[in-house]
């Protein structure tokens, strides 16, 4: 099997496309919250599927519970957008959006799903626009889990390589933050490399 690798130019390009996409997504969420978000540099990691759990675990607090919202998308560039938010941060989001001290679990769920919808749809739509393709979105799913259950082994057993494109959404003044991951696998990685190369050729011509 041919090794899947991105060269320096391809990683740089993907980071830049992601940066532009995060900018658009952050702006939409900031508008929803009427607050200012700090933008972070995106990270690109290519790993074997069995390493994914360790990569994600390294970025979460093992003692906390997390909201995990996953949304699949398919097309020439397919994968999964995942937003991981600490339970305490989700409560702050509920407080802030509903202007009440103790939002109900339903209120928090609604707030987290609404934020993720805006975030993932803007992010992926903008990224695929940069890459010149269209994707189809599936209904997102949300759950509260312990940190060790963010990714289940069975979620990834059919894949060999995974690209993780990740960044942090951070509203410092409101104590709201979360990690965004775009996971894309196997054939989708080859499509992604092809799309990046086409885009680079177009830009440099």
């Amino acid at each position: 099997m041919k090794a899947i690798e991105l060269n320096e130019d391809q990683i740089d390009a993907l980071k830049e496309f992601m940066n532009v996409s995060i900018g658009a997504a952050t702006s939409n969420v900031a508008e929803l919250l009427d607050a200012f978000a700090t933008m972070h540099i995106p990270k690109i990691v290519i790993c074997n599927s069995d390493e994914l759990i360790a990569v994600i675990q390294s970025e979460v607090d093992p003692k906390s519970k997390y909201y995990v919202i996953k949304q699949l998308f398919s097309g020439k560039f397919g994968g999964e957008c995942m937003f991981v938010m600490k339970n305490s941060s989700a409560k702050n989001l509920g407080n802030y959006l509903y202007h009440i001290d103790n939002p109900s679990q339903d209120d928090i769920n609604d707030a987290v799903i609404e934020l993720t919808n805006i975030l993932s749809s803007t992010l992926i739509s903008r990224l695929t626009k940069e890459l010149g393709v269209q994707v189809q979105f599936f209904v997102p799913s949300a759950q509260i889990v312990n940190s060790e259950d963010i990714i289940y082994a069975e979620d990834i057993q059919h894949y060999s390589k995974i690209i993780i494109i990740s960044t942090v959404l951070e509203f410092k003044d409101q104590n709201i933050d979360g990690n965004i991951y775009i996971l894309t696998k196997d054939e989708a990685i080859n499509s992604l490399i092809e799309l990046i190369d086409n885009k680079l050729e177009e830009l440099y011509s």
Partner: protein
């Protein structure tokens, strides 16, 4: 004339330089990959204009802009960023940037910058 282009992405720098060269083909383009290098280059090279990204490692664009404006209050700095929040725009204009343009920059935007924002 020297123009300094600051961005941690080499692709973003290339796109910007390509557009710059269409308008100022004879300009000498200087490149920096973070704010700290940009501040040093600004001190040493005294460019006529700076195109500065915001989200960068080592030193971000906000801090670099503050340093540059303290070195030269008349520095002509254009922010080119993916961060399109109104608060970000307000902040950089308060520090002293001439304008802020969303990424990716294109010919039309570049022409407008040279027509309305820069005195070169």
């Amino acid at each position: 004339m020297k123009i300094l282009v600051v961005d941690d992405s080499s692709l973003a720098r290339k796109i910007l330089i390509k557009e710059l060269k269409k308008i100022e083909p004879s300009a000498q383009i200087l490149e920096a990959e973070n704010g700290a290098i940009a501040v040093e280059m600004f001190k040493n090279e005294k460019p006529a204009a700076v195109f500065l990204d915001l989200t960068m490692p080592v030193m971000d664009g906000y801090e670099a802009l503050e340093h540059i404006m303290s070195l030269d209050p008349y520095a002509q700095v254009i922010i080119v960023s993916a961060d399109i929040q109104p608060e970000a725009r307000k902040k950089v204009l308060q520090i002293g940037a001439k304008n802020m343009c969303p990424k990716p920059i294109n010919s039309e935007k570049m022409e407008s910058i040279f027509m309305h924002d820069l005195i070169i």
